[in-house]
């Protein structure tokens, strides 16, 4: 500490070129690694070690995405996949939070749902897809139902954990000062459980996207997953790789968007002060 205080002012204001260059290097690292990945992809594709069918070069894939974008297919498929994922996610969010609150407040609800959740959460729900197809048909209802079924469990458990972690002192003081149950719920329980609930939603959203893509892949039709399977059936590997890039981009944007929503909703919370790792 003392060394810094006694150092000349200029030395603090202008760090040496060495430090600056080092800082720049670390900041450039992400571009380096992504660049290296693309260069390696191009190199392997060109080297002839693998056929163009097994690994089309990045420019071919980019071109294919460009054609899809111009033709409009890309946007239709993306919109459909996002619609299915978000419709199921919204149902899961509302139902999950409602069930979580019901379980925390009502003994019968807790008795009924507790074993279902402890057995249902670790189950691979995707195995029920053929059953749900049997019941609800081959269209969007099935896909949205599957998404909701898979995404609801993390929301319920997060809501329960959030409510359980509400500080007793806050509840006691609120009740002591004459708050009604409704007010306690609105002004104490909900805000203090919100960070945990948001974490649950952040876990649920990628799951929703995975399930939306998988159901599209199994059932075919439009949507990013369906389009990729169509390309695959016609042995169009540029289309398959374009699908992967598109799905990865959508996943990245959705998860980043959710982190932004969290920061916005929890601006008042101490966690917003710390650098977010997401």
């Amino acid at each position: 500490m003392a060394r810094v205080e006694t150092a000349p002012l200029q030395a603090q204001a202008a760090p040496g070129w060495r430090a600056r260059a080092g800082d720049l290097t670390w900041r450039a690292a992400p571009f380096v690694s992504v660049g290296l990945l693309i260069v390696a992809w191009e190199a392997v594709a060109r080297s002839g070690v693998v056929t163009a069918y097994m690994l089309p070069g990045p420019w071919i894939v980019l071109e294919r995405i460009g054609t899809d974008a111009v033709a409009g297919d890309l946007w239709i498929n993306m919109a459909l996949t996002l619609y299915r994922a978000f419709a199921g996610f919204a149902i899961a969010a509302v139902a999950g939070i409602a069930i979580g609150f019901a379980m925390a407040r009502n003994r019968i609800a807790n008795w009924f749902f507790d074993p279902i959740i402890s057995v249902g959460f670790p189950m691979p729900k995707i195995a029920f897809l053929p059953v749900v197809i049997l019941w609800l048909g081959l269209f969007d209802v099935t896909k949205v139902t599957m998404v909701a079924l898979d995404a609801v469990f993390p929301v319920i458990t997060a809501t329960l954990a959030g409510i359980a972690a509400v500080e007793r002192e806050l509840l006691w003081s609120a009740r002591n000062m004459g708050a009604s149950e409704r007010e306690v719920l609105h002004q104490v329980v909900w805000p203090s459980a919100l960070p945990q609930i948001m974490t649950g939603l952040q876990v649920a959203l990628p799951i929703a996207l995975i399930v939306a893509v998988v159901t599209e892949m199994v059932m075919g039709g439009y949507g990013l997953g369906g389009a990729m399977m169509t390309a695959w059936r016609f042995a169009n590997s540029a289309g398959v790789f374009a699908g992967i890039v598109e799905i990865a981009a959508v996943g990245y944007l959705v998860v980043k968007g959710m982190a932004l929503v969290r920061r916005r909703l929890l601006l008042w919370h101490p966690e917003a002060m710390e650098p977010s790792t997401v």
Partner: protein, 247 residues
Amino acid sequence: MKAALIRYSPLLVLALAWELIARLGLVSSSALPPLSGVIVSWFDLLRSGDLVTASASSLYRGGTGLLLAVVVGALIGIAMAWWRPVNALMSPLVEMFYPMPKSALIPVTVVWLGFGDGSKILLIFLGCMLPVTLGAFNGARASDRMLVWSARSMGASRLRMLWDVVLPSAMPELLNGIRTAIALSFILLVSSELIVARQGLGYLIGYLGADGDYQPMFAVVLTVAFLGFAADRLYMLLVTRVLAWRA
């Protein structure tokens, strides 16, 4: 025993409701075959050997892929926490691929390795690696500076410190990441077998469903669900064992 019975009684209620709805003919028996019939079908499948072959092939794929994912994922995660250049190069890639729905890789793995076991193992390996990596990275990064410094001042080599300090502190988060990976591996396994496979539990479900044999199909679906549940429970038992020292 009695407590467990009361705790799990809602499942019993659901099972009874299933049987009643099917027996009373409220829905057609192809949409919901009675539970008792499904149980009979399950024993038939078990006796014919179909269930055993399919389970063995699915568990082999899942287990191998998962094992590879855990070993490679943990190594990368700890390397990222330990060496800054590795972190600088790897973390953008991890951040880029982590949110990607890994099921998108199903067709490519088939293009690369064909219809058999290899493509499923590769898929599960790629799909399950990142949660393990992230768990190991977060855990190792959070290891107590004091412990690292004391180990260093007592003359521990870098490798020794990795093994004795960093790995134990990374353990809880790493084990949590592996739990996520196990759940993911079942999703990827079943969906890839539903889409392209010649054997395995997912293939059996699709095959029976296409034939309209809904009773055995329900039996296989319940088997898969049970295996996923059992894998998670067994794993959690193991975790409490491994983490017993933390008390």
